[in-house]
Amino acid sequence: MNKTGRNAKTPSPPAAPVSRRRLLQAGAALGGTAGVAGGVVPGMLASSAYAQGSDRPIRIGFQVHRTGIGAVYGRWYERTANAAAAFINDLGGIAGRPVEIVPEDDGTDPKRGAEVVEKLAVQHKVDFVYGPLFSHVVIGSAPRAGELKIPYFVVSEGYHVASGKLNRYVFQPGITDVRAQVTAIAGWVMDNLGKRVAMIYPDYAFGYDHRDFFSAAAESRGGTITAHLAIPPTESSYTRYFPRIPPDTEVLYHVMVGPGVLTFVKEMGEHFGSRRPEIFGFIDSLEGVDIASPGLGFLDGTYLWEALPRYADGYPTRFEANFRRAVGVDANGASAADGKDVATYSHMFGCWETLFAIKEAVEASGYRTPRDYPALIETLEGFRYFNEGLGHPQGGKQFVGALHQCFGQQFISRVADRRLNVVHRTAIEDGLYPPEADYTKQPL
């Protein structure tokens, strides 16, 4: 049904002209006055914008994994969301109204997640809900957002938004989904590392996205998957899985979100020793973990996907530098206040970008109260791209309104000398796939 192509079928009102112009102004101001995105925020803009709207704040409910298995991510997501809100307020807020973040812990638990969405919507009376990462929480919470008819902006990576299995109120405008990520890097892996790949992934939805879409992308490029190893999420020992990897495997592909990752890497080293295949992994497992940690030595010479390079020299733009400084991250990807507190850098930019996407959608649609949700949703569905800039430091993004999903560039880094060095950057087009859903056909 979508044979006509992704962009042709979406109605295309001019996408957020006001906000983009404002962003460009702000960017120019920053670039011009402060050189490398210094600490000065354009004060002129700030004061004039607030003066226009003496409205009540825009309240954005923030569903955060403060406790539970997602707590490492949650902490950085919260820091990023707060930094983005402060930055937006310094720029003059959203449509002249200040932004207020209303955080609520969901314990990285799907059941609690649905309750949090309801609490934020009904009790705190927020304008939007935003922020969750873990796929099971998003899948558990999204139906409640749809029932309550409140826009729900997730920063979750999983293919669940773009697959069409959620609902019209759920958007992912700030981070590329897994299917696009693995499609984008598959070609590079085939060409540079090898065509016979064994896959190790967690035994739940997020892992299955990797299994299904990387396998498909690899096979379409003449690759073969030699083994599929699904690992239960609470696993603490991995030695028992490695014998299932056939000896003629050229590439080991691993993605393992969970606290066991260091053990995984260490046991992988113990098992293979120097006779290892090429290794390609997703940094998801190592977010919040120092690459120079004891036991990670075996990763030297292997490759990792990154959405936004952890080390500042990986993607040195002034927008990235501004983002890094605003959130409080040093050039090595750790907290500026504590070098041992490593950020979840390949994911948390999504919180920043999503807040700016909300800002752009609110301003373009003229949203004022929840009565304007339909206008906001239809406006956002009409967006086709987000320009790289202060609000989108990871890079420009295509946005497909029918899928409620954005598509951005990806990075591949090589581990050497206990740090990450970018070796390849994909184009947005590398990750595009034929859409399987159209949310715009659902009723509002």
Binding site: T67, R75, R240, P243, P259, E270, F272, G273, P294, D341
Partner: protein
Amino acid sequence: MSFGPYLFLAFLEGTVTAFVLALTALGLSLVFGVMRIVNVAHGEFFMLGAVLAWYCSTLLEGSPLAGFALALLLAPLAVGALALASDWLILRRVNYNPESTIVATIGLLYIVQQLVLTFYGPEARPVAAPVYFRVSFPWFGYSGYKLIVAGLAAALLLATWYAMSRTRLGLYMRATQQDLEIAQAFGVPVRRVYATVFALGAMLAAVAGVLIVPVQQAHYLMGLDPLLLSFIVVIIGGLGSLKGTVVAAFLIGISDGMISVFFSPTLAKILATLLVAAVLVFRPGGLFGDNRA
């Protein structure tokens, strides 16, 4: 990999798992055997041991062996002190009532977990092994430290058996276990025995945490899994039976190793749970427990 080495790896994995399980379950089994209470916070004592080992390793950075030795000394002491305090502040107040103790130790579990989350943080932090070497077999390599863990666990099990059967404290403990009132009548300081047993159980869990943390990482949620497995082992082995705990740990450990290498880890867990159900139906007291009840 051909069948022989595959089987060997499964056996190796199973043996290490078994020793670790036995050590972790031992404290739980002791506490239940003597005091007839279920300590739901047992896994948190294990986790505290691991977290304290991380602190010791950062204190003595550069020398993993010294850090490990310090942790082996400090972690059980600190965790034992905490257990004594909780015995005095909580368990004694609810008069060791089995139901109230379960609820109270669930509370203790959450308090410990959230305090660690607050002060230590949500990260899984690695601790370097005190000695690190890779045992290289012709078909695959294996962690040398894991074999050391199995050896140390065996030594600790022996030490506990010795303490139980050859010392005065062991005698007191066995007497209290067999009949509280008669023991009291013979002058056994039952309250003190209770406090000591609770602290000892916690200390054993902490030592297990220190031993395991170089193989896993210190993480504030790491206590939940060992707790579950310890319950399985203790129920199958028979609550309060040292021999039963060890036998059950080997039963679960080796079968877990074999099944998860040859089939899937999930199937291994399913079978372990089924085994628990079967034991509860046919021998409610466990394989080596008191089945008269």
